[in-house]
Each structure stands twice: as C-alpha cells, then as structure tokens.
C-alpha cells in the first residue's frame, strides 16, 4: 500500500520515489533561497567595493594606492601577517597534537581555552594588551626604561593579531587528528623511526590539507582584523596603520575612492587566498579524498 500523496506532477507515476528525494518545487525553492542569500549578502557588497573603487576611473584608483601612507599600510599588514601566521602554525600544530594524541589533566580546559579568542570581542582582546604593556601597567616603567616599544608598534600589532587568530589552525587540526588516532605514528615508531622522522614522514603528510585550510583562514583573518589591532595600533599614519585601519581613516575623511581602493586590494588578497585553496582542492582532489578515508 504505497500511496504517493505528494502534490507534484510525479504523483501519477507508478514508481515510488526514494525517501530522500524532494519534489522539483522544493528543490528549486531551496536553491533560490541559497543563491539569493549569497547574492544579497556576499556578491553585492563585494561588487560594491570594486565599483566604488573604480568610480572615478583606473587612474584615480592607481593614484590612491600610490599614496605613501596607503603603501605603508599594505606593507605593515603583510609584515604582521607574515609574522603571526607562522607563529600560529607552530602553536596550532603543537596544541592540536597535545589535545588529540595525549591524555593529560586539564585537557578539556585547554580545549576551551583555545576557543577563547573566538568568544571574546576583539576590542577586549586589544584592551588586554594595553592593560599589560601600557604606560600605566606594571610592565610599563620597565619597558620605558629600556626603550622597548610594544604598544603602538609592530610587536603590539603582531601580539593582538596572534591572539585573535590563534584558534584557526588548532580548530582545523584537532578533529582531524583525533579521527586519525595514533596508530599511524605507532606503526612508524614500531618500524624504528625516530620521533622527528615520524612527525615529518607520517604525521605531517596526514594533516597537510587540514593544516593548509587552517593557515589560509588564519591568514585571511590576520590581514582583515580590525578591532583588536585598532586598540593597540595608536593610528599613527604611515607607521602603525594596517589596511583595515587605513580604510576607516580614509572613509572618515570622505576620501571614498581611496578608501574603497584599499578595501578592494584587501578583498583581492582574500579572493586570491580562496582561489588558491579551490585550485589546490581541484588539483589534489584524489589525494584529499584518500587522506580522509583509507
């Protein structure tokens, strides 16, 4: 007694549909809703950035980017990312390794702690560093005496960025490493490999795709971070302004073309990252599939 009660045209068909297949209307509606959201909330803003940047022509766009302050902001962003991403790569692998492969007291606490930067507002994260290294802090006089500049300088920016982007690599690796377990490592050790050989030849190849995604996400956030960086930067033009900060300054000065020009470059960096990731995925799709399951 298989009664097809669906209102779709296929109701007259004698075959009973698979339980999980939807009617045409349901499928179309779902696709339209998804596409609509993507267009409205992702594509439209992105397009606006580029349209606004080129509103007065490519010449004006080029001029805006040639401004020394803007140029310095781009350079600073790349430097900060170049320092904080490798740091978080090392921290992330170490933390994920510890959590996924060892049993120790306080493991649950460490796992929660790794998520802290996600749950704390970036502004608070920035303020924490001001409270630690600021002139009125306990460390302040010591830093002043020896002329060490942390706040309103590159070290402060790097610290804030590292803090905010800390979870990306670890979050990506922990479930992956937990799923893979320790038997591959045990196999390598039983065959006589040293700890370092095991890491290099067995563990790293097993996690390299997860690691890559983590690094790409971490990099995107490191370049785009605003809140925490804004607090520790001090907004010294041409010196401690990163790209997101430079965009805000230009925008507040009603210099829309320049603001959007910098924003376009920032967006472009993010897009390049995404394209790179997709290209790698396509190129090595077999290997990625194989690394998920035996």
């Amino acid at each position: 007694m298989a009664l097809d009660t669906s209102p779709a045209p296929s109701a007259s068909s004698k075959l009973v549909k698979a339980a999980t297949s939807e009617t045409r209307i349901a499928r179309l509606t779902l696709i339209m809703v998804a596409l609509g959201f993507v267009a409205l909330f992702l594509l439209l803003p992105l397009a606006t950035v580029f349209i606004e940047a080129f509103r007065k022509g490519p010449a004006e766009f080029a001029t805006a980017l040639r401004d020394p302050e803007t140029f310095s902001a781009i350079r600073l962003t790349l430097i900060v990312a170049a320092i904080s991403v490798p740091l978080n790569l090392v921290f992330g692998v170490a933390a994920a390794w510890a959590i996924a492969k060892f049993e120790f007291k306080g493991k649950a606490f460490l796992t929660t702690l790794i998520d802290l930067p996600f749950s704390v507002s970036p502004v608070i994260s920035g303020l924490v560093f001001v409270l630690i290294f600021g002139a009125n802090s306990a460390l302040g006089p010591f830093l002043q005496k020896y002329g060490i500049h942390i706040l309103f300088a590159v070290p402060g920016l790097v610290l804030a960025t590292v803090f905010v982007t800390f979870p990306f690599v670890a979050r990506e690796l922990i479930p992956l490493m937990q799923e893979q377990g320790t038997s591959d490592e045990e196999a390598a050790l039983s065959l006589g490999a040293t700890g370092w050989q095991t890491f290099w030849h067995v563990t790293l190849p097993n996690i390299k795709w997860g690691l890559l995604y983590g690094v790409l996400l971490c990099n995107a956030r490191a370049m785009g971070e605003f809140g925490a960086v804004s607090v520790v930067s001090g907004h010294i033009r041409g010196q401690t302004n990163t790209m997101p900060l430079q965009v805000e300054i230009l925008y507040n000065e009603y210099n829309f073309v320049a603001a959007f020009a910098v924003a376009a470059v920032l967006a472009l960096l993010a897009l390049v990252t995404l394209v790179l990731k997709t290209a790698l995925e396509l190129r090595y799709s077999d290997e990625i599939a194989a690394s998920r399951r035996h």
Binding site: D184, A187, L191, G192, A193, V202, N206
Partner: protein
Amino acid sequence: MEVRVQNIRKEFGRFPALDDVSLDIRSGELIALLGPSGSGKTTLLRLIAGLESPTDGTIFFGAEDASRKSVQQRNIGFVFQHYALFRHMTVLDNVSFGLKVRPSSRRPPAAEIRRRALDLLELVQLSGLEKRYPAQLSGGQRQRVALARAMAVEPNVLLLDEPFGALDAQVRKELRKWLREIHDRTGHTTVFVTHDQEEALELADRVVVMSKGAIEQVGTPDEIYDHPVSPFVYGFIGQSNCIDVTLSSGEIWFEDRPIGLRAASEPDGAATLYFRPHDIELIDGCGGCLAGLVTASRRVAGTRHLELDLGKAHPPVEIELPPERASSTDHTRIAFRPTKWKLFRKEGDVAVAPRQVEAPATELVRTGT
C-alpha cells in the same frame, strides 16, 4: 627469537588490565592470544611490542631484558588491527619505510632496499601493485601490505593485533591459510591476538586463553579443546553445557537421582558438570541418566541440534546427534548420558584443592563404555 614474559602487571589508571601474567613464547612458534574483549590480550601484545610500558614485571627477548628498551630498539614487526598503512605513500614506500628510516650506518643502499621490498611483495603475492596507494587496495591486500611492511625490518618477533578482524568471512579463511604458509616459510616467532576461537585453534601452534587480565590456560589447540582446565575455558572454547550436580560417595547426582557417572576420588559436595553437546550417548530405558524434554530442534549442516529442558531450575541443555539418530527418537523425552565430561567444584568450596594446570584431571574424564 624466544620471548619470555615474567610477572607482568599493567594498570590503566587504577584498573589492572593485566595482573601477574607470565608466558614463555618459544622461538619460531606461532602463538595465539585468545580471549573476549577486555581480557587484556591486546594489552599483552602491546607490552611485548613496547608500545605500552608495564607497571611491573619484565619481558625478555632471548637473554636480553627488553623492558628497558624503546619500541624502536626492540626491532619488532607490528601489524595493526586496521593496518595503519601510510596513506600518502605507495605500497612500495610503505614496505620500505622501516629500512629507509634507519640511520645511514645501518641503512642498506637504496637499490638493496627496493629489491628487498619487491621480494617481500612477491612473498605476500602483491607483485605488480607496488605503485598503488593503500586506498586503491582491497582489505585483504592492505592486510598483506601491512604484513610485508612489518617483515621488512627482519623483526625479532612478529606481532599481529586481530589480523583478520576487519575482513569478511571468505577472505579471512583464505588469509588464515596463507598466513600459516608464510609463517612456515619464514619461521618468524609470531604472536597474534584474536577473539575468534576457530581462528586460534586452526592457525596456532599453541593457544593462550585469557580472561579478565589473567592467563587461564596455555596449550596446543587439542589440549585446549579436549582438556579445558577451568570453567571459563570450557565455556569459551567450543560449545558446552553446564549443570549443577551433587557428589555423594563417589556418585554424581542430578537433583534426586544418580546419573550413572562416577567420580570416585572426589569428596562429597556441590559441583558443576561440564560436557560438550556431541560427547553424549542416548540411552534406552533410563536407569541412571539425564533426561529432558525436547524444546527445539535445529538442523546445522551434518548434525541435528536438540535443545532439552531438564527442569525449571536448570538452564536448557543442547546436544548434537547425527540426523538419522535424531529422527528415530521421535519421543519428546530423551534420555542421555555424557561420555566425556568434567567436574568443577563450586568456588569457595575449600574442601577440594585447586586443580593444577599441568595435570588435567584425567581421572575425572571418562570415555564411553
């Protein structure tokens, strides 16, 4: 190489996984660690490998104390339950891994490594598949790659954790025969863990039956099956029935009547009688026997299995008969007597000294009239 396990104890947290276990493994033998899950068999295997360290006790490889050595120094070959092949390496790279990671002073030249890996792949009948990745192999093929990889380092002892656990029944049977052949040809001292008694009895020279972190019995498959030394082994290996009986002046009584079996040297008291479903004889006219009502009857291949109800207070008993005998007894009441059997005294009954492992109590086992 000879492996001696001496008074090994292993605790995880405060839970003892192994308690004072000793075992001598002879050089070149194929030995099975058999037990239900949680019996400590895998823990024992991992302790021999050096993947775990004992809480107490010593493990000797030959005359050398191996317990102080790391897993790398012990030079063992370990085959993991799910093979743990390196998925990003080809079959050939997997097999040669153990030789490639050696320090340069002990590492054979690259051509030699390649030749040895290819030889091993031929031994495990995988020639021609050396360029494949593990994901492109069937379960049985992966299992053989894992074995070749473990043998490549010329191990002192080969350790296999549930080697056929993840394979389907057909492949499992083939690989079992094949592993025996490989063992006979290479002569590696081999220890494998299994929960499958058929596998252990068919494949191993000797079987170690384990339960709750202790060794219950060590012996050849024949010894284990024919002369189980404890109720656990009787119940775990093969089919068996157990019924509560009473001993009175050398006679075995079931409820209120003697069943025609004598245990002359045993003192009086309560005991449990164990016998296998096929070790029985049917009796016409019951003058000292067990009798029960047939409650179920199943035909299993060449024999008929009958389930008998001996009375409400007792668990059902199963017996096996040739199909022609079973059909001739169309009464619903069947009288029988065990032909081979064994008594175990109730635990806590201090009147009887515990039986020795070396001397299976043959005086208690009788063959039919």
